[in-house]
Symmetry: C2
Subunit: 311 residues, 2 copies
Amino acid sequence: MSILVVGSVAFDSIQTPHGTVDRCLGGAATHFALAASFFTKVRVIGVVGEDFTAQHEAVFRARGIDTEGIEHSAGNSFHWTGEYRENLSEAHTLRTDLNVFERFQPKIPASYRDSDFLFLANIDPALQQQVRQQMPRVRLVCGDTMNYWITGHRENLQAVMKGLDVLLINDGEAKLLGDDANLVRAAGRIMEMGPKTLIVKHGEYGATAFFGDHSFPSGVHNRFFRAPAMPLAEVVDPTGAGDSFAGGFFGHLASQPEITPAQFKRAMFYGGVMGSFAVERFGTERIQALTREEIDQRFASFQELSHLDAE
Amino acid sequence: MSILVVGSVAFDSIQTPHGTVDRCLGGAATHFALAASFFTKVRVIGVVGEDFTAQHEAVFRARGIDTEGIEHSAGNSFHWTGEYRENLSEAHTLRTDLNVFERFQPKIPASYRDSDFLFLANIDPALQQQVRQQMPRVRLVCGDTMNYWITGHRENLQAVMKGLDVLLINDGEAKLLGDDANLVRAAGRIMEMGPKTLIVKHGEYGATAFFGDHSFPSGVHNRFFRAPAMPLAEVVDPTGAGDSFAGGFFGHLASQPEITPAQFKRAMFYGGVMGSFAVERFGTERIQALTREEIDQRFASFQELSHLDAE
C-alpha cells in the first residue's frame, strides 16, 4: 500500500573523515522515500528550488517514487552544510540555508489522498499537523522530530504526537522529550503523550521498540523489542541513516496485509538493514545502487548477528 | 568444569540516585564468582583483610564457591568508594583504599591446579600473567582489563593478551586499546594482539562478540554476534554488572561439554541476563537471592526481546 511522506528534499554539503561532497541530493523525505521504495509505492510532498533539476528528479523516478507532490518554487532548495569528526555519530551543522523551505506549505495532491500510510519526517510540527489533519483516514501514521522542536515548539509537537501510531526518534531526543535519563521511564512518559508505539534509534547499537496496550489490534504484546545494527568497519557518511531506517521500517510495514507484532519486528530489522547500507557511501549513492537481493542477504546477516542457533 | 577466577574481593561504598550503601561486599572476583556459581563450580583467588568475616565468607559458601584461595592478611580489605550520578553508566571514583590488595601476590592452591577454565579479572596485568603462567593447561582463558592498565601498563598487558582466548572489555576500553574510534577496526587490532575472540560490552545496549579465524576449533564462523541487554526502568546500582556478565558468560561456557559457536552465543545471552539482575539491587544482593529458574525465565525474555518470530 502507498506511503505518503512529507519532509525536506534538500542538498547537503558534507565533510567526514572519508572525504567531502558538495551539494549532493539529500533531505529526510529523499532518504526515506528511496529506502521505502524497495518495499512499496511512495509519494513525496516537499518543496525544491530551481537548483533541483530533471536529473535530481530522475533519482526518485528511477525508484518508481511519485514526485507529483514535490513543489517547484523560485529560489534555491534547502541546503545543509555539516561535518562529522572522528565520532561519526554526531553531526556538526556548519550552515543551514532554508531557502525555499522557509515558506514551505505542504499541499496534498488529489491523487495522494488515498494513501494508507503517512510518514511525517522531521519538519515543523505545525506543518506535520496540517498534513495529518488532511489525511484523517490513513491506517498508520509514523512521525519523526528533533531537539529543536522538542525544546522550542513543544505545544505544537504535543498536538502532533496525539495522532501518531509510531514515533521514531533517537536516544538523546527520547531522553529530552521524556525528561528522564532512563530510557524506559522516558519512553513511558512519551507514550502517555500519544504515540501507541515508540521506536528509539541507538545508532551503531540498533534500535528499541517500546510497545503499549494499543500498539497492536491484537492487544498486549511484549513491552520491548531490540533490533541490532550491523558492526561496520567503515562509515563513510552517516547522513540520512535515520531516515533510511525509517524508510525500511515503514516500507516493510506498508507492504504487509496486516500489522502484526511479527511483521513489526521484521520491519525494525529492515530499518536496520537500510540504515546500514545508507552509511556506506555519501548521500543517497549506496541506496540508489541497491538491489532487493542485497537487502534480503543483509536481512539474513542481521538474523545471524542476533539470533541464537536452534537447540 | 571448574572455573578459577583471580581478582579483587573488596568492600564498596556506593552512592547512586537510589541511595547509598556503606562497605557492602564487592570486588570483581566476588561478582564474577557469584554469577558463575549458578552454572558451574567456581574457585576464587584473592586477598582480604581482617574486616572480611565469616559472614562474608558465607556469601560465597552459600553458593558453593571454593574459597580456599582467598588469602587472609593483616589490615583491611580493598575498599572502593564511588558514586553514580544521573547517568548511571559512568562511575565516579571518590576514593580507592587498596589496603591488603596493594601487596597481593596470587597463590594457587594445589587443589585448584586442575581447573579447566581461568578468568583473569581486572587486576595488574603482571599478576594476571603470573597466574596464567602457572596454569598452562587450562582449556580456556578469559581476561578483563581497564583504562588504567591500557594506558600505563601496556607492555605487561600485551604479554597477558597473547595468552587469552577471550578478552572481555567495554566500548571505551576497546577503542582506547585498539586506538580507533571505529569499534570494528579497533577490534581487529586488538585481536592481532592475541585474543582469539573479543567481547565488547555496551552497557545498556548489550554486547558484541568479534570472532577470528581461531575463535573455534571448527574454524571460521560469522565475524560478529550481538547479544541484547534488557531495557530496565530502574537501575539501582551498576557496580559489578560487567563482572556479573563475565560470570554468566564464562559460567555457561564452562558448563558445556564443548565450546561451539552455538554455545558461545548462548553464553553471551546468559552474560546479559546476569548483568541485568546484578543492577537491580545494591552490591551482590540481587544475585545472592537469585534462583536458576529466574535466570532461565529471563533468558527466555532475552530471546523474545531480540528474536524474530518464526515465519
